[in-house]
């Protein structure tokens, strides 16, 4: 994707990219400097973004192994969506953050999404208040120019919302914000924002603070996505893109009932998008193959979802992907793409300068060969570790110019990814008898 003639990096950008990569997480900015391959996948998501911008709705499931670059891909799409004037919300699911629940986990997810609500000018989250501000400002302008009162303009602009579940209360809360704005009542303003962020937990509190009877709770998270998508339109944005990562946490729920009720919410999203009942709203969900394919606990265990998400059998037979279907399987990076990736990393290290590389081209091929020897094919599927090891290697060379890359490469140790939701247990010098590579 990136040509060797790309512009130089600012030192701050360079450092933040390298720091993220060494920690094994996706950098927030500067993705274009390292991104390789996945051209068709990106094109498909660009199409989704266009659809949302044009008033439609989209639903995509990105499926890939741990460390295959799902989060990277999600971040890339998010940056594009922000550039196109969309509002994005994103969050990782976790045992405490779900789409639907009875113990606060649904509301937790919503609150996390709202914390991360971003716009082009505020790409790192925390943009909810400024959207509300912008909406109110717009409403005032409109009221001034048409000689109306602001409350009635607000009511008019939010009329569409009131047809939806909880929409009337949503409009009331925005109205309350305006009242707080008008009367310099900061407490009222902050209560309204707190309500929108999903921070209210009881009816009584909501009624006392804002005079509404509902609030964002565990059972109506999805309804509030729809409300928010219409609201951001009225605030002058193009639409809303909801991005959910680590969907495998739903697969891991210990209760079948809890899992099914979450899958039902996914079905609602999918149906609304396919049937066109949702507008200006896009969904991007990332998960591992288990999350989708497992017939007993995965999305495929839910009959209605399986039939809608099943792979295009013709495409499968032909060994190609159908990018028109709702599911995209992230393809492995090819050896050529990996080589480009290493080249990109080397260039980031050199602050985008084409001169002053820490290692010659020969080092890149020799590094890849070493990795392949060490962990075999797996590293094509999971570039995360390869990247981390390579960045570590360059970092050592940068600080110790006297060392030779040839000596270092043979010492590079790459672990196979060891995933777990449980923290590691410290044990003193005891043999686990090969349990680390246990298979049932």
């Amino acid at each position: 994707m990136t040509s060797e003639a790309a512009p130089k990096l600012r030192p701050r950008e360079r450092d933040s990219i390298l720091q993220s990569l060494r920690a094994g997480v996706t950098p927030r900015t500067g993705l274009q400097h390292i991104q390789v391959g996945r051209a068709r996948e990106v094109a498909a998501l660009l199409g989704d973004i266009e659809t949302v911008c044009d008033g439609g709705a989209s639903f995509r499931l990105i499926i890939g192994e741990f460390g295959s670059g799902k989060s990277f891909f999600l971040q890339l799409v998010r940056n594009i969506a922000l550039e196109k004037g969309l509002v994005t919300v994103h969050a990782d699911l976790s045992p405490d953050r779900r789409l639907y629940s009875t113990g606060g986990q649904g509301r937790n997810l919503y609150a996390e999404l709202m914390r991360n609500l971003s716009t082009r000018t505020k790409p790192d989250g925390g943009a909810l208040t400024s959207i509300v501000e912008r909406f109110v400002t717009e409403a005032r302008k409109q009221a001034d120019s048409h000689g109306k009162n602001v409350s009635s303009v607000i009511a008019e602009r939010l009329e569409r919302l009131t047809e939806l579940v909880d929409g009337y209360d949503f409009a009331q809360v925005i109205e309350a914000y305006w009242k707080g704005y008008e009367s310099d009542n900061d407490a009222l303003k902050s209560d309204a924002v707190r309500w929108l962020r999903g921070e209210f937990t009881t009816k009584t509190d909501a009624r006392n603070a804002l005079g509404v009877r509902t609030f964002v709770d565990d059972a109506n998270v999805y309804d509030h996505f729809k409300l928010m998508s219409l609201f951001v339109r009225q605030a002058g944005y193009v639409g809303l893109f909801v991005m959910l990562d680590e969907m495998v946490n739903l697969y891991k729920l210990a209760s079948q009932r809890a899992r099914v009720s979450n899958y039902e919410q996914i079905l609602r999203m999918l149906n609304d998008c396919l049937q066109g009942t949702a507008q200006y709203l896009g969904f991007l969900l990332c998960g591992t193959p288990d999350f989708l394919l497992d017939a007993r606990k995965g999305l495929y265990s839910y009959e209605a979802l399986q039939s809608r998400l099943a792979e295009n059998t013709f495409a499968k037979a032909a060994g190609v992907q159908d990018f028109a279907g709702p599911t995209i399987h992230l393809a492995n990076l090819t050896p050529e793409e990996l080589l480009v990736l290493l080249r990109n990393l080397r260039r980031v290290f050199a602050s985008g300068d084409n001169v002053g590389y820490l290692v010659p081209d020969a080092a890149l091929t020799s590094f890849l060969a070493h990795c392949q020897n060490r962990i075999g094919d797996a590293y094509f599927r999971t570039p995360r570790n390869t990247i981390k090891a390579f960045v570590d290697l360059l970092s050592v060379l940068e600080q110790n110019p006297q060392l030779s890359w040839e000596d270092l490469i043979v010492k590079v140790d790459i672990d196979v990814e060891q995933n777990s939701d449980m923290p590691e247990v410290e044990i003193v010098d005891e043999d686990d008898g090969g349990l680390a590579s246990f298979t049932l």
């Binding site: 192994e65 045992p95 995933n419 449980m422 686990d432 349990l435 246990f438 298979t439």
Partner: protein
């Protein structure tokens, strides 16, 4: 308040509370416990009898310490085996909590939602909880626990002796270990326990993973005065009236009635069936004499309401009350103290006898213990073991051990595979996806299942995989399988022990108690329960409800078995008692004659010189060892092809002669002895614990063998046999 170093260390609120109690001084264990608990860098075991002030010994300093801690979150986690005990402690600790100004929350299945919600929102102070409820919290609200228990100062475990060697005890160990792993800090554990032998082993049980020293505090209070009597009864071989209760039983009940009426007593009858039987007879004696009934049964199958009514009645001390009870009243439920203890049949253990005696002794009065022991009438056909008057001698032996302050040590460590199933599923459910090596590290390598090595655990996990309790993701993480989810979601999952399905007994819509479903009763049958007689008028199999009305006849139902293992030392003391042949002064006339018959016959058999006897076509072995070793000897002989059964203190080998037997033993010693697991393979059914049915025979037998057999002990005896 007398001079006290410990007292000065308490916070103002705790001091105020002590003053309000009008205590003239702190008890010895209370004084001794203050400094080590305040230091907060070691575990503490407080061993004393019921009502010796253990609760205060732990809570006064613990509350002092946490009241000085400004952090929010639960400061003291109190674990108790009984819901009733939690309700009790909640009542008792309220005034202290108020004065020290810390929150107090009871938490178990019957506690209302409002109290729980409050703690969920604002975790603080003292949390009183059962192991089952803690299991549920760790599994379902793991991240809440991590936050709420982050600044936990102490874990206090009440009735710790009741957990030793049980499935629940193993679950408790695992829960505490998982809790410390979750909060990433070691929290001092304070165990309140009855006095047991070998307190060091108890300390090992309290923290099997090690890593913190343990301070043991035992009461040194001067020995209590004990008034003691052992009354003997003789059961006739031919009863005059088949339909009536046996003569000996009626005589015994008459004596209980005569001696105990008008005072407050606890009558321990050891089984639920015997409890009902005796309570019924005593009630009918009251009715016959035209006096108000003051004898009531108390056992686990009675409804909560009935049990609580009785506990309150005992506490109030306004009317004379005798509870005919099982071990349920041995635990520390606050019922005040009673005038005397009656023990019908031999007590299950010395430490249990100590607990029971501790309930007696009011207002400086000596403790009173009466034992009512029935032996068989002897005829020329009487069995040899009947002639040895085993129960009488066992009581005498247990009393001398009690007076010598010897108590049973805790049982040895076991595999506890059934509980390992529960804990494995619970950890997987708690975190979502975990690796096999992490599970093993947490539960076995650093946790309480230390007998399970990594190879065995791998085999164990594969079994769980085969039964779909767990399943594996592409990257190797283990998650719950669909079967596992159903098990974990079921409300019975939190208990490590199996809860038998039961029928609820109702009278006029009010609950009377419960009956195991395995012992069905047909409509029209008469039944004695809760000390009264009833007729079954309806059995609703759907709702599992049996409706009763009053009736004139009926016998108590059978419940599933209860029993306790007799220890080596008790049998050794019995041997000593037989040899010494010195009847203690506390025997009544009948008991004394039983004792003399016993020691006489013992000498006549020459048992002071030999441990093997040939009696007709059978050989009897007297190893004078506990039930575990005696049972193992019998199993070893069976393995060798002998027809051997362990019957209490002897091993009975049928169809053999001494000569044949000794040859067999000699032959056996030439070969390698079988393992405990191989012995278990001879047992028709090794399913004992809740989740055993998920496990294959091989793993079950390993657990069964280790639990029931003491091979080195048995082999040592066989080798030493002349």
């Amino acid at each position: 308040m007398a001079e006290s170093i410990g007292f000065d260390l308490l916070c103002a609120g705790a001091k105020k509370w002590v003053w309000k109690q009008n205590w003239s001084e702190l008890r010895d264990i209370q004084e001794m416990a203050i400094a080590p608990i305040l230091a907060g860098n070691s575990d503490v075991i407080i061993a004393a009898s019921t009502a010796a002030g253990k609760t205060e010994a732990a809570f006064l300093p613990a509350c002092t310490k946490i009241s000085e801690d400004s952090r929010s979150g639960v400061g003291i986690l109190y674990l108790s085996p009984l819901k009733a005990l939690i309700n009790d402690q909640y009542r008792r600790l309220q005034s202290l909590a108020e004065l020290v100004d810390i929150a107090l929350t009871p938490w178990h299945g019957d506690v209302g939602l409002a109290k729980k919600q409050k703690l969920r929102k604002n975790p603080d102070g003292i949390l009183l909880i059962t192991p089952e409820s803690l299991e549920s919290l760790l599994l379902n609200r793991s991240s809440w626990c991590a936050e709420a228990l982050e600044s936990l100062g102490y874990v206090i475990i009440d009735e710790f002796h009741a957990f030793l060697g049980t499935e629940r005890g193993c679950q408790l160990q695992s829960l505490l270990h998982r809790l410390e792993f979750l909060t990433q800090q070691a929290t001092p554990r304070i165990a309140l326990s009855a006095t047991l032998g070998d307190m060091q082993t108890v300390a090992g049980y309290l923290r099997p993973e090690g890593g913190m020293p343990c301070e043991i505090i035992e009461s040194t209070a001067s020995p209590y005065d004990l008034k003691l009597q052992l009354r003997g009864y003789e059961e006739l071989v031919v009863e005059p009236d088949e339909d009536e209760e046996p003569t000996a039983f009626r005589e015994m009940a008459n004596d209980v009635f005569r001696l105990l009426r008008g005072k407050s007593n606890l009558i321990f009858a050891n089984s639920r069936n015997a409890t009902e039987r005796l309570a019924l007879t005593l009630r009918e004696l009251c009715e016959k004499e035209g006096v108000p009934n003051e004898f009531f049964p108390h056992h686990g199958n009675l409804s909560k309401e009935i049990r609580e009514d009785l506990e309150v009645r005992l506490q109030e001390e306004s009317r004379p009350t005798s509870a005919v009870c099982t071990v349920t009243l041995e635990l520390g439920i606050d019922i005040g103290s009673v005038d005397s203890i009656a023990q019908v049949t031999a007590p299950p253990s010395v430490s249990s006898l100590r607990q029971r005696v501790g309930r007696s002794g009011r207002r400086g009065q000596p403790a009173v213990l009466r034992m009512f022991i029935t032996e068989q009438e002897l005829t020329k056909n009487s069995d040899l073991l009947d002639r040895l008057r085993v129960e009488t001698i066992q009581c005498v032996a247990m009393v001398s051990l009690l007076l010598g302050k010897w108590y049973e040590p805790p049982p040895p460590n076991e595999y506890h595979f059934s509980t390992l199933v529960q804990q494995t599923l619970s950890v997987v459910g708690q975190y979502g996806g975990v690796r096999a090596d992490q599970l093993w590290s947490l539960l076995c390598s650093t946790g309480p299942f230390s007998l399970v090595d990594s190879n065995l655990y791998a085999e164990f996990l594969r079994v769980l995989g085969e039964t779909d309790l767990i399943t594996q993701m592409a990257d190797g993480q283990l998650v719950l399988g669909s079967k596992g989810e159903r098990v974990v979601e079921h409300y019975t999952f939190y208990a490590a022990f199996s809860t038998p399905e039961e029928y609820r007994l109702e009278v006029g819509g009010r609950p009377l108690g419960s009956l195991p479903i395995s012992k069905p009763v047909p409509i029209g049958m008469n039944l004695a329960f809760s000390g009264r007689r009833w007729r079954v008028i309806d059995v609703d199999a759907e709702r599992k409800v049996i409706t009763l009305v009053h009736a004139a006849g009926g016998r108590p139902p059978k419940f599933s078995g209860e029993g306790m293992m007799v220890h080596d030392i008790v049998r050794q003391e019995m041997l000593h008692t037989y040899i010494e042949a010195e009847p203690p002064i506390y025997l009544d006339e009948t008991a004394r004659s039983h004792f003399e018959e016993a020691t006489h016959y013992f000498r006549e058999l020459g048992l002071d010189r030999t441990q093997t006897l040939q009696v007709g076509g059978r050989v009897l072995l007297f190893p004078w060892l506990g039930d575990r070793k005696t049972g193992t000897i019998a199993a070893l002989l069976k393995w060798q092809g002998f027809d051997a059964t362990a019957s209490g203190l002897a091993v009975d080998v049928a169809n053999t002669s001494l000569e044949k037997f000794k040859k067999g033993i000699a032959k056996m010693q030439q070969h390698e002895a079988p393992s405990a697991t191989e012995l278990a393979e001879m047992i028709p059914n090794t399913m004992e614990e809740k989740h055993d049915h998920f496990l294959p025979r091989s793993i079950r037998d390993l657990g069964y063998g280790a639990r029931h057999f003491d091979l080195p002990g048995a082999l040592e005896w066989l080798a030493g046999m002349e």
